[in-house]
C-alpha cells in the first residue's frame, strides 16, 4: 500500500507539470517569496565547500595575475583607439539627431549586483543576484554584463532576485540583426548559443552581423548589444552572445524609462 503514495505523488507531479499550473500568479509569488529562504539555507549548508572552492580558485587567479596584467597592457592601447572612435561616433549621432529633430527619449539608470547563484548550465538557465525589493528591483528589468545583455529579472524576493538568462529555454527577445535592421525573435535553446527565428530575408544576413535588442515589447531598451551571428540555417540563425556568463561575478540591472518631456 505504501508504494501508492510515491506513485500518487508522481501522477500529481505529471498533472501539475503538464497542466502548466506552475505559471499561475499565486505560484509565481510563492517562488519569489521562497527565493530568499531557499537560497539562504543552501548557502549556509554549502558554505564549507564554497570556502574550499573559492580558496582553490583564488590560488588559480593569483597564478594568472601576471598574464592578465600583460594582456590588459596590450588591450589598453587598443581600447584607447576604440574610445576615440566611440566618442567621435557619439558626437556624430548627436549632430544627426539634432538635425533630424529626433529626441533621445530613453533615460538609463542601473544597479550593480553580485551573482550569488549560477545555474546557467541547465535548460532553465538562471542566475541569482543579491538585489531585491529592498533595492527597488522589479520584475522584467533587463540585466547586462559589461559586454551586452544577458537576460531579465524573472522573480524578485526581498533581498535576492532571479535572472532568466538569454539561453533559458523560456527566453524570447525581439532583436535586430545587422545594419539593415532585420527583425527577429531571439529564442533560448537551453544551451550556449541561442537562435533567432521569424526573420524575413534571412539570405541577407551574414556571419558576423551584430545582434541588438529592438526595443519592441517594452522590456529591453533598444540597441543593446547581445551577440553576433555565427551560423545560418534555412529558417533560423545561430548567434554567439558577447558575454561569457560563467566568468561574470557582477551584473548590471538596468532601470530604463522614457524621458518625460520638459
Amino acid at each position: 500500500m505504501s508504494i501508492l503514495i510515491p506513485i500518487g505523488l508522481i501522477i500529481f507531479s505529471l498533472i501539475f507539470y503538464f497542466g502548466r499550473f506552475d505559471n499561475s500568479n499565486l505560484l509565481n509569488e510563492f517562488r519569489a517569496k521562497s527565493i530568499n529562504s531557499v537560497y539562504s539555507i543552501t548557502s549556509i549548508v554549502s558554505s564549507p565547500i564554497s570556502l574550499i572552492k573559492n580558496g582553490l580558485e583564488s590560488i588559480y587567479e593569483i597564478q594568472n595575475i601576471y598574464e592578465e596584467n600583460q594582456r590588459f597592457k596590450e588591450m589598453q592601447l587598443i581600447d584607447s583607439a576604440s574610445f576615440q572612435e566611440i566618442v567621435s561616433m557619439k558626437l556624430k549621432i548627436a549632430q544627426y539627431e539634432s538635425l533630424l529633430n529626433a529626441s533621445n527619449d530613453i533615460e538609463y539608470d542601473f544597479r550593480t549586483s553580485r551573482i550569488v547563484g549560477d545555474f546557467s548550465n541547465n535548460f532553465n538557465a538562471t542566475l541569482i543576484v543579491n538585489s531585491g525589493k529592498e533595492e527597488n528591483i522589479k520584475e522584467d528589468m533587463p540585466v547586462s554584463g559589461s559586454n551586452g545583455i544577458i537576460g531579465r529579472i524573472s522573480h524578485v524576493g526581498e533581498s535576492f532576485s532571479r535572472v532568466l538568462l538569454i539561453s533559458n529555454i523560456n527566453s524570447r527577445i525581439p532583436v535586430i540583426i545587422s545594419e539593415n535592421g532585420h527583425h527577429g525573435v531571439l529564442i533560448g535553446q537551453g544551451r550556449e548559443n541561442p537562435t533567432i527565428e521569424f526573420v524575413e530575408h534571412i539570405e541577407k544576413i551574414s556571419i558576423g552581423d551584430l545582434v541588438t535588442t529592438s526595443g519592441k515589447g517594452g522590456i529591453f531598451p533598444p540597441f543593446q548589444l547581445i551577440g553576433q551571428v555565427v551560423g545560418k540555417k534555412s529558417n533560423e540563425i545561430e548567434i554567439s552572445i558577447f558575454e561569457n556568463i560563467a566568468a561574470l561575478s557582477h551584473v548590471k540591472i538596468l532601470n530604463y524609462k522614457l524621458k518625460k518631456e520638459d
Binding site: 505504501s2 510515491p6 505523488l9 507539470y17 539555507i41 545555474f119 541547465n122 535548460f123 529555454i169
Partner: protein, 161 residues
Amino acid sequence: MYLSFRGYLQLNGFLLFFISFNNVFNFDLIDFTLILSIFLYSIKWNKSEWLVPLFLFAWGIFQDILLGMNLCYSGSIFLFFYVLSQITSINGLFEQQKIKFIVFVTALLILFIFKNLLIYINYQLNYLSVSELAAFLIVVLLYPPLNSIIVYNQKKNEKIR
C-alpha cells in the same frame, strides 16, 4: 532500510547537503539530480515506508525553487527512482546486482527520452546534445561505485543489528 527518527534527520540532512551542491558547482556534465537518484535507487527502503516519498517530494520542490526549474520536476525524478527501488525489492531483483544495473540504465534511458520528448513537444526544440549524452553516461559510470558503497554499508549495518 527502516528509518528511525535519527535516520529521518540524517536523510533530510543528506538531501539538503546534496541539493546545496548545486549552489557551488555548475558543471555541464554533472547532473546532481541524477546522481542523487543513484542513492535513492541503491538504498533498500522499507516496504511500509510512507514518510520518505513525502520528504523527497518536498525536497524536490525545494530544489526546483533553488534552480528555477518548473515545480515538481526534480521531485518526480526522485520519486521515480524511489518507486523503482521499491519495485525491484518486491520482485526480488534487488540482490542481483547485474539486473539491478540494467534496470537502472533502462530507467535512465526512459527518463532521458522522456525529458527530451517533453522539451521537443513543449518548445519545438531538439535539446539532444553531446554534453547531454555525456552527462547521462557519467551517471551510468558513477552507478557501480556508488551502489557498491551503499550496498556494503547497508549490509554492514544489518549485521550490526
